[in-house]
């Protein structure tokens, strides 16, 4: 087993064991933190597919994260108020069932990513970064100004959505749901990057001219990757809404896009477990330094600077002592 695989295994085991120990020590807040790590890592895993494997530096993934969150809380609030989401042309009622909400969030994320991607993938480089940012900000301002679902104040979910056979209000059970979803998503990414599609996607990052010369349209490959990426990040958004039992336009803000990007870069761009390492470090720093000073993002910034300058492979790259990607 190589060092990256070993480090990934340690991360997977650590993320599972820490909340179990914390519960034994009667510290349920740690369980909530671990849940947050799992969810944010999932959001990062979505972005990693586009940014790490496809070379698509999206600065607009908050759009998909927020859409997933709103999908969850809109469906839940309609269900709790016994109002259908809409009645024409056919009636759709709300739901508090997580699997249904996840499906809706992922479809919404994929459709939004396909639409945004279809327009922004015609550009590249800095323009791509700026256009994805612009689209995400458009959705952010739309959410602020649309009063139906709370506008600027956001929208609460009174009771956490349900999962068949489990008590989602129990912190450990909700953590386990998020953990399993994360592991399934990471396994999916692992398989995907080794498939025919994954080979073409990575070729599109390294040399699009070469990909076209063998007869594969880079645009189609990137668009598909962007849509899958958006779906995974939207799923994370739905879980995040359930964790906080609240969504607000802040989830759609460009700060969120930046944070998701930080998870990926800190942990290791283009490495399956990179976002897990990145999100874990981010939350640990936020929790520990945030208690000391409200300027805790200063050391985070310095750390990020060090990674970008000296350790392009992120934490996982450092551990596996091998730098990939320019």
């Amino acid at each position: 087993m190589n060092r990256e695989a070993l480090a990934s295994l340690v991360l997977a085991a650590g993320l599972l064991v820490v909340p179990l120990i914390a519960l034994g020590l009667d510290d349920p807040f740690i369980v909530t933190l671990a849940t947050k790590v799992a969810i944010l890592a999932l959001a990062g895993a979505g972005l990693n597919l586009a940014l790490g494997f496809g070379g698509l530096v999206s600065f607009g993934h908050a759009a998909f994260f927020g859409l997933g969150g709103y999908a969850a809380s809109i469906l839940a609030s309609h269900a709790l108020n016994y109002e259908p989401v809409f009645v024409w042309p056919f009636e759709i009622s709300g739901t508090t069932s997580m699997p249904v909400i996840w499906l809706v969030a992922m479809v919404a994320g994929a459709i939004a990513a396909a639409a945004i991607g279809a327009l922004s993938l015609r550009t590249g480089g800095v323009y791509f970064i700026m256009i994805t940012l612009a689209f995400a900000q458009m959705i952010y301002y739309f959410a602020i100004s649309w009063p139906a679902y709370g506008g600027e104040d956001g929208l609460s979910i009174y009771v956490r959505d349900s999962f068949p056979g489990l008590n989602t209000l129990d912190p450990l059970q909700f953590f386990l749901i998020c953990y399993v979803v994360l592991m399934v998503a990471l396994a999916f990414c692992f398989v995907l990057t080794r498939s025919r599609f994954g080979l073409a996607l990575q070729a599109a990052r390294q040399n699009a001219t070469r990909l076209a010369a063998v007869g594969i349209e880079p645009f189609g490959i990137r668009l598909m990757a962007f849509a899958i990426s958006g779906a995974i990040t939207a799923l994370a958004g739905a879980l995040y809404a359930d964790l906080n039992r609240f969504v607000s336009p802040a989830m759609l803000n460009w700060h969120t896009s930046g944070e998701i990007m930080v998870f990926v870069i800190l942990g290791g761009v283009g490495r399956i477990f990179g976002p897990v390492a990145g999100a874990a470090l981010y939350i640990v720093l936020e929790h520990n330094l945030g208690g000391l000073t409200e300027y805790w993002q200063l050391p985070l910034g310095l750390l990020l600077l060090a990674v970008v300058l000296y350790a392009r492979g992120g934490i996982l790259g450092l551990v596996s002592r091998q730098v990939r990607h320019g």
Binding site: V191, S195, R196, G198, L199, A203, G215
Partner: protein, 250 residues
């Protein structure tokens, strides 16, 4: 009369005041190696790029297997069976040698949107890829990262990738560029046999290779084809001597 596999008809391309292609006519017949020679800056690579679709021509037409392809994208033309190599090797640098060829094999098979089965355990892709690497003498290097290959090996890999596309025509842009005399000789022998698989449009500066391989030669000067003919005709052509061959062939 036999229809050419590829024909370039009255093709023109201007970059501002510069005529990169000036009413170029050129064709490629089944089973032949047609060499395209000319001094630096004559517009050889620009012509290849117009045929592959990387650069759009201003006027004229490009026909491939009886079909107008002038409006198709690079990838669409490649899927019809036009395989090119690049003057400066253009491969996926982080992939292994094998991955680069597997990419071409899967592209030729036409199924790219498959998300689950790992490519490198798929014998339908790996076996043919290893075959093409054996043909080009790179089989022992199949696990090496492409960026770590020597210059000559990258040139060989370009050829292996082109082979893997099972094309109906090869467009080889200076395949010998930067290769040692030994490598050039080997590649010349290899290309000699390749013409039976598909005709080759060969841009090349190595005159020994051109004269020993070409069935026909076209000479491009300032974007214009000043002569097309057999090796003897081109050697004997006064205008070509003056413009290009100079003392070398005298």
């Amino acid at each position: 009369m036999v229809e050419p596999v590829l024909s370039v008809i009255d093709l023109s391309k201007r970059f501002g005041a510069l005529a990169a292609s000036d009413h170029v006519n050129l064709d490629l017949m089944q089973g032949e190696i047609h060499a395209l020679i000319g001094p630096n800056g004559a517009g050889k690579s620009t012509l290849i790029n117009q045929i592959t679709g990387a650069i759009r021509h201003d006027s004229g037409s490009i026909r491939f297997e009886g079909q107008e392809i002038g409006n198709l994208s690079v990838a669409e033309r490649a899927r019809l069976g036009l395989a090119r190599t690049f003057q400066v090797s253009s491969l996926a640098p982080e992939f292994t040698v094998l991955q680069n060829v597997v990419l071409a094999v899967q592209a030729a098979s036409g199924h790219v949107f498959r998300f689950f089965r790992p490519v490198l355990t798929d014998a339908w892709l790996v076996e043919p890829a290893l075959g093409y690497l054996e043909q080009t003498g790179l089989k022992e290097r199949s696990g090496v990262r492409t960026a770590d290959l020597s210059h000559g090996e990258k040139r060989q890999l370009e050829i292996a990738v082109a082979l893997a596309l099972k094309p109906k025509a090869f467009l080889l842009d200076e395949p010998m560029a930067g290769m040692g005399p030994e490598g050039s000789k080997q590649l010349t022998g290899f290309l000699d046999g390749l013409r039976t698989e598909a005709p080759i449009l060969l841009v090349e500066h190595d005159m020994d290779a051109v004269f020993s391989l070409a069935d026909r030669i076209s000479v491009l000067v300032y974007g214009r084809v000043i002569a097309t003919g057999s090796v003897e005709e081109i050697r004997a052509n006064e205008e070509v001597r003056r413009a290009y061959l100079g003392e070398e062939a005298a």
